[in-house]
Each structure stands twice: as C-alpha cells, then as structure tokens.
C-alpha cells in the first residue's frame, strides 16, 4: 500500500485558484439567479426564439458535417502526404482558430461577397450569392469550426498504427476499403471529439456570422445573434432564455466528452 504524498499547503496558490473558480461560477449563478423565470419560460414558445434556436441547430450541424467531409481528407493529407508547403498549409488551416472571427467574416465577404474574388464570377455565371443567406451562416461557421476538427483528426491519424492499413492491403483491400473499413474506425474517437469541438464552436459563432451573413431573423439570425440583439433592445426575457438553453447544451456536450477532456482524477 502506498499513500499519496502530502502536498504542502500553499495559501497564495489556493487563494488565486479560488478566485479563478469564482470567476467562472459567478456569471452562471448570476444568469440563473436573475432570470425572470415567470416571463422567461413564457418566451420559450415565441416564434423568434424558436426560429433562432432552430437556425442555430441546423446551421451548426450542417457546418459540422461540412467540416467533417472536407476536414477529414485535409487532416489525412496533412498527416500522411509529404509535399512542399505543407507546414504553410497547416498554418493557414489553423489560422481561423486564432483569428478574430470578425476578421474572418470580412475575409469571407471579400472572397465570396457580391463583388468578391470568387463571389462576383459566381454571381455573374450562376446568379448565386452567398452573403446574407443561411448558406452564408453555414460557411461562416464552417470557416471558424473546421480547424478544430482538422487538428484533432490529424493527431488521431498520426498516433494510429499504419501497419493496420498494411495488413488490410495484404488481405486484398484497395485504398478506399482500407480507408473506410480500417482507417476511419481506428480514428473514430478522434473524429468524434473533433466533430463535437467543431460543433460547439459553430454553435457559439457570432463575429464571422454577423459580418458575412448579417442579422436577418429566421434566415441568418442564430441564437448568439438573437441574444445580443434582444439585450441591446432591452428584451431581457428572450435573451436570458436563449442563454440558458445554450448553457444547458454546452453542459450536455461536456458531459458527453467526459473522460476525454475531464479526467477521473
């Protein structure tokens, strides 16, 4: 039997830690304590609130799927292929993680806007215009969320034993069968974690969305946008109610990821 070594008590560290914990907990307590419950529960059925929540859900899920469909191949290329400029590509891929989202929105606008680099020919040739549409919301969310999926999946691909893929090849599996039946299942946990991270980032997206897609109720006004607008217009009840729903959703995600990011210790 061994005992845990006794950690000497350090009042400064413990004091600062308590301060940090309070800093996290107090806003949540405030949100719950100051919720005008009677009126707040009433707005839960409001058309505007429901539309914002629905739009948030649809757009965040769509951008997660989009991020997976494009991000997994990108992660595979970064993990497995060797080519010049790979580090630059990885850097550009992860840039949206550190870039202020508003800047991402401006960049998207200049690229895909009506007069943008790609947007203008796209508009002239097909009459397609992406900004200020629901598709624009999905694009903005994908832009900020995909890096989370790419880096998580790339790490999974790097730590995976590639000899399983070799074993599959000796059994007659072509490259697609190997990818589908061996690679993907083996990186399954990384893919799931990456998708959840990307989804929660997309769900909370604000800056890039409002810049690129605007703020049209029912079309581009997601829950974070609606909360901000409601608060600005002094409509406290819907703002608080939407906030509470987002808190609950985030808590559910954290619990789902328990063990991966929240250790048992």
């Amino acid at each position: 039997m061994t005992q845990r070594p006794v950690q000497p008590f350090n009042p400064v560290l413990v004091g600062l830690a308590a301060l940090a914990a309070l800093f996290f907990v107090l806003p949540l307590v405030g949100l719950v304590a100051r919720t005008p419950w009677a009126s707040a529960l009433g707005v839960l059925g409001d058309a505007g609130v429901v539309a914002a929540l629905k739009l948030s859900l649809v757009c965040s899920l769509a951008s997660t799927v989009l991020a997976a469909v494009m991000g997994v191949p990108l992660a595979w290329v970064l993990a497995r292929l060797r080519f010049p400029g790979k580090n630059l590509l990885r850097g550009l891929t992860t840039l949206p993680m550190v870039l202020p989202p508003v800047v991402g929105g401006v960049a998207l606008l200049l690229a895909f806007g009506r007069r943008g680099l790609v947007g203008q020919p796209l508009n002239e040739a097909f009459g397609v215009s992406l900004p200020f549409t629901t598709a624009g919301v999905i694009m903005a969310e994908t832009f900020v969320a995909m890096p989370f999926l790419v880096i998580t999946v790339e790490a999974g691909l790097r730590s995976m034993d590639v000899r399983f893929e070799e074993a599959a090849r000796t059994l007659g599996a072509g490259r697609w069968t190997v990818f589908r039946r061996v690679t993907l299942p083996l990186i399954g946990p990384s893919l799931a974690a990456g998708a959840v991270l990307a989804w929660s980032r997309a769900l909370g997206e604000f800056g890039a969305t409002i810049t690129f897609a605007g703020n049209f109720p029912g079309i581009t006004q997601t829950a974070p946008l609606a909360i901000y607008i409601d608060l600005e217009s002094l409509r406290l009840s819907p703002a608080v109610m939407l906030s509470l729903v987002m808190v609950v959703v985030s808590l559910v995600v954290l619990v789902a990821l328990r063990g991966r990011y929240l250790g048992d210790a």
């Binding site: 034993d161 000899r163 399983f164 070799e166 074993a167 599959a168 090849r169 000796t170 059994l171 007659g172 599996a173 072509g174 069968t177 039946r181 061996v182 299942p185 083996l186 399954g188």
Partner: protein, 326 residues
C-alpha cells in the same frame, strides 16, 4: 517451408515486406508460381500492388483489427475480394473452427489469449487462399511458457497449406522446428542456405557458428595444414587445399598450465579473456592465434587458476578440426 533466419537488423522483415508488396524493390524481381509480381530496374517495370498479390501475411504482433470481432477479422479479406457479408462470415466461421476456435465468434482480439490471436491471424491470412504465406516471428509475441505448444500446433497446421511458406525469425529453435529449409541472412545478404542439418553441420558465418555453439575459423588449406586468415595455423586431417572453413567444438579444446606433449596436436599460447559459467562447465574465451572458445570443467578452472588474463597453453587434436571448402 523455408525459414529466413538472421540476427536483428539483418533485413528479414524488409524481405517479407518486399515480397508482400508493402515495400517497393530498388532492384531485382519477385516471381511466384511463374507469375511476375514485381520487377524493378531500367527495363519493363512491373509492380503488382499488395492488395492484388496472392500473398497472406501473419504479422509479428498479428495486427488483428481491434475494432472488429474475430469472425469479421477473418472475413475481412473475403469481403475485400467482393464476397457478400453473410457468405464471408460463414466461410470465416469455418476457418476459425478449423483452427480450433469455434467458440470465439465476435470476440474482440483484445479479449483473446496470445495463442488464440495467433490462430485468428493465421485463419485471416489463409482465408483468402493465398499462394504464399509469410510469417513474421509468429511466436515472438507469445509468452515463453506456451511457445512450445503453439509451435507444435502451428507446425501441424502449416503442413496442410500447400503454397509457398516463408517464416521470418531470429530464433534458430523456431526456424529448425518449423522449416525444412533455412536461409540465413546477415547485413541484407544471404550467407548460407540449405536444410537445417546442412546449415548447422557446416556453418559459413559467425552468426550460424554462434547459434550452433562452435568456433568457426577461416583460412587457406595446403597439404594437411590450414594457414588461418586471422593469424596462426592448424594441423587438420584431410584438409585438402584452397580456401576453407575450420570448425572446432569448444569441448575439443584443452587448456594446460605448461606446454603439453603429443604429436597430433595443435598447440599455442593464449590468454583467458572471459569466463561464462554454464551448469557444471565453463566457457572460456582464449585470446591468441587463433582466438577461440574452450569449454572446460569447473574443476579444470580451479586447477589452472583460470581467471581473466591468465596465460595458458591451448591444444586441439588434428582429428578434432573439421575442415570444409569455403
């Protein structure tokens, strides 16, 4: 069944990977049953990819797919070759039964014992009906206590396979027990090939000599005497002439405190440089011309006051020196 035998880093696994098509050849060719699988070099390159070679591989740590059950592991190759799922599972179950694993079903590889995993790996490799089976250190991942049993079992099952069988191992016991032909490689080159008896009888490299536990010397024979490459000379019976190997068993080497008499002996001076206790006998390395290993009794060690650095006389009877052409 042939065994590719060699020390770690000799290139055994590289050969296996090249045959399986996992590593492209820089030069040379691979032909199986008269079919050209790969040809490297300047003219007419051919390369059949791994997934289209009729080659089954049992990998060193088996590499069973951890996310699939035993049946699905065995069915993997069949399904990859276009068999429908239900049919592939049925055939896989038959293979598992043949391997004495009727009950494992969809148990995940991680829940099976080492011996069971090895049989699943063998079933998986054989289920696609390959023309060549490659086994990479098939016993290395197993606990020593069950190796003998698994080796016997493996030997019996491999007899039923009628294709080309190649075993890669660094364990001579495994090679001799499972194979009827040994190919010894060192530094990426074949140094000796033949039946286990031929190889052990006439070692042609320090590696094989070490395995068999004999002293191997090289030199030039002329009229009953061998001029050794590393200095010194030996009298031997029937040495012939030309480049030869000379083999001396450690037990045939005698050590003395003073120069011994007797005409049919080779006698030289040496210095003990390393002692190893082996049961009731001691292996002593004697530096001299030539340097070799002697095996003597513990009583002899005491009598000779043998220790690191002790000067001794070494003698070997001419009839105990076995000589064969290099």
């Amino acid at each position: 069944m042939a065994a590719l035998l060699g020390p770690n880093g000799a290139g055994k696994t590289t050969v296996l990977r090249a045959l399986a098509g996992l590593l492209p050849l820089a030069e040379g060719r691979v032909v199986l049953d008269g079919r050209l699988l790969e040809q490297a070099g300047r003219e007419r390159r051919v390369r059949v990819p791994a997934e289209r070679r009729p080659v089954g591989v049992v990998f060193q740590d088996y590499l069973l797919f951890p996310h699939l059950g035993a049946v699905e592991n065995v069915a993997f190759g069949l399904r990859s070759r276009g068999m429908r799922r239900a049919e592939a599972r049925r055939v896989a179950a038959i293979w598992l039964e043949r391997m004495g694993l009727a009950g494992v079903g969809d148990a995940r590889p991680g829940t099976l014992s080492g011996g069971q995993q090895q049989r699943v790996a063998l079933a998986r490799a054989l289920a696609t009906d390959p023309r060549m089976l490659l086994l990479d250190e098939p016993l290395a991942a197993l606990d020593v206590s069950i190796r003998a049993e698994v080796r016997r079992d493996l030997r019996r099952r491999l007899r039923e396979f009628d294709g080309v069988n190649l075993l890669v191992t660094h364990d001579p016991l495994e090679a001799i027990a499972l194979a009827d032909r040994l190919i010894v490689i060192e530094g990426g080159r074949i140094v000796q090939a033949g039946t286990p008896a031929e190889v052990t009888e006439r070692p042609r490299s320090a590696y094989v000599a070490d395995l068999v536990g004999v002293n191997l010397l090289r030199g030039r024979a002329d009229d009953g005497a061998v001029e050794l490459a590393g200095g010194g000379h030996l009298g031997a019976v029937g040495a012939g002439s030309g480049e030869v190997f000379a083999v001396i068993a450690p037990r045939s080497v005698s050590l003395w405190r003073s120069r011994p008499d007797g005409s049919p002996r080779n006698v030289w001076r040496g210095r003990a440089s390393g002692l190893d206790l082996l049961g009731d006998r001691v292996r002593v390395r004697i530096e001299g011309q030539p340097t070799l290993v002697a095996e003597v009794t513990t009583a002899a060690v005491a009598e000779l006051h043998l220790a690191e650095g002790t000067e001794v006389w070494v003698s070997v009877k001419a009839t105990d020196v076995r000589v064969y052409p290099a």
